[in-house]
Symmetry: C2
Subunit: 236 residues, 2 copies
DNA sequence: GTGCAAAACATCGTATACAATCTTGCCACC
DNA sequence: GGTGGCAAGATTGTATACGATGTTTTGCAC
């Protein structure tokens, strides 16, 4: 009874099994091992993790609340396939929220936090220079972690959760519509933001953050180009 | 009329039973028919709505994701009892998000929207002058609806969902820590905000919004109250 | 009468079973 | 040969069943 997901299913945590499955699937989505549109049948998920459909279903439901999975009634669950409009909304939300997070974070940041941020940056840079799928996936994750750490530093766990959702969904959008091979954020921009915070130039930091988000979004090709129904695809 | 409205309706009613239950419980919580800390046993909820524990559980899980219900492992689900710290985070999040929403909304608002907002305001005022529990509940709802409508006008459904969560949780916080009998927001402040938007004085509108949120928060008594155990209740 | 231990009870966690719904493939019929 | 409908298969929606975990109560010893 060994499966690929032999993760800490023992007595590690008091977390219910469904949450472990949810986390595993979410990670797979964010790291792009699962492509948008992939069908996630309850039975398959259950078999994969050696649990019943009950838990698989619960995990999928949870992911649907986060916007990473879309469940269609009587049809099943699929890895979310954000529309261009959804993509725009995601980045619009980030532009709305992240400057505020930055201000909160700057007000509470400790030298220790800055050290951690810099460490994250180093790791990110190292991964960028590496080759291979594994490194690429880790890089994607590290890139998002920068934004998430800022949210964590802000000390507001509610906003932090919002950001977790936004970052995860951003990853989906980039997977779908990203053009450049350098799929993740411009690495140097993260460093610039830290520097601005350190120099206590808050307004500049916010500007940098907005530009940074704009850069990510600018790399997207948000033209409606995917199946708007098979019919339309051929009726053109 | 087989257009969007009907499709929405059909889809809604066709929606899985768990969601109807979730909505019903959420409404009960927001309207304060259910007090913070109330136990929501899966069996009881199931019996109440004549469904199995499976659906009751799904509904409670969904509510827990929204922060309105807290489920404790092997102990059960309870209407959330936000701590003073959580309360502060909720309002901090609102201060972070609502000015941005206001700016977005102001950029897209139509005369029609303004009419609707004013109607909402009128309704709110009418309810304030009425007596009785029913009116009070409706007033609470209407007061939150003002903020939600702004979020809807902003055109970003993601941010809108964030606001729905924040408004709902705010209602819980006010129920717990609110002091004044005029439990809801200052009514006039809503009107002032609309006027500022109408006059296209955006910065002023944001200031008013921040003050408005501050007023709500100022009405709270966020001192840590120890367990309202039976003993203390009688030691008074 | 008080304090601790063990059993009875209640409630949740998960699995399995059955019903409802959608999809698919086949065959009769035009 | 094409079309419509019906039946079989697959998948989800919901209910029930059983084991696990906390909580309360009972009973016994001190």
């Amino acid at each position: 009874m060994k499966s690929a997901a032999k993760a800490q299913q023992a007595e590690d945590s008091a977390e219910t099994g469904a949450q472990q499955i949810r986390d595993a699937i979410r990670e797979a989505i964010v790291e792009r091992r699962l492509s948008p549109g992939t069908k996630l049948s309850e039975s398959d998920v259950g078999n994969l993790f050696n649990v019943s459909r009950t838990l698989a279903r619960a995990a999928l439901q949870a992911l649907s609340y986060e916007g990473l999975v879309s469940v269609e009634k009587n049809r099943g669950a699929f890895v979310a396939y954000p529309s261009p409009d959804e993509a725009r909304q995601i980045f619009s939300a980030r532009r709305l929220v992240e400057p505020g997070i930055l201000r909160e974070a700057a007000a509470r940041i400790t030298p220790d936090d800055i050290t951690h941020l810099r460490q994250l940056l180093l790791e990110e840079g190292r991964l960028m220079s590496e080759r291979g799928q594994t490194a690429r996936r880790a890089e994607i994750k590290a890139s998002g972690d920068f934004h998430l750490m800022l949210a964590a530093i802000s000390g507001n766990s509610i906003v932090q959760r919002f950001m977790e959702e936004l970052v995860a969904r951003s990853s989906l959008v980039i997977a779908l519509y990203g053009q450049s091979t350098a799929s993740s954020c411009g690495h140097s921009e993260h460093g610039d933001i830290i520097s601005a915070i350190e120099a206590e130039e808050l307004d500049r930091a916010c500007q940098l953050m907005l530009h940074h988000i704009a850069h990510i979004e600018a790399d997207l090709d948000l033209r409606e180009r995917k199946s708007l129904g098979l019919k339309e695809a051929f009726e053109l």
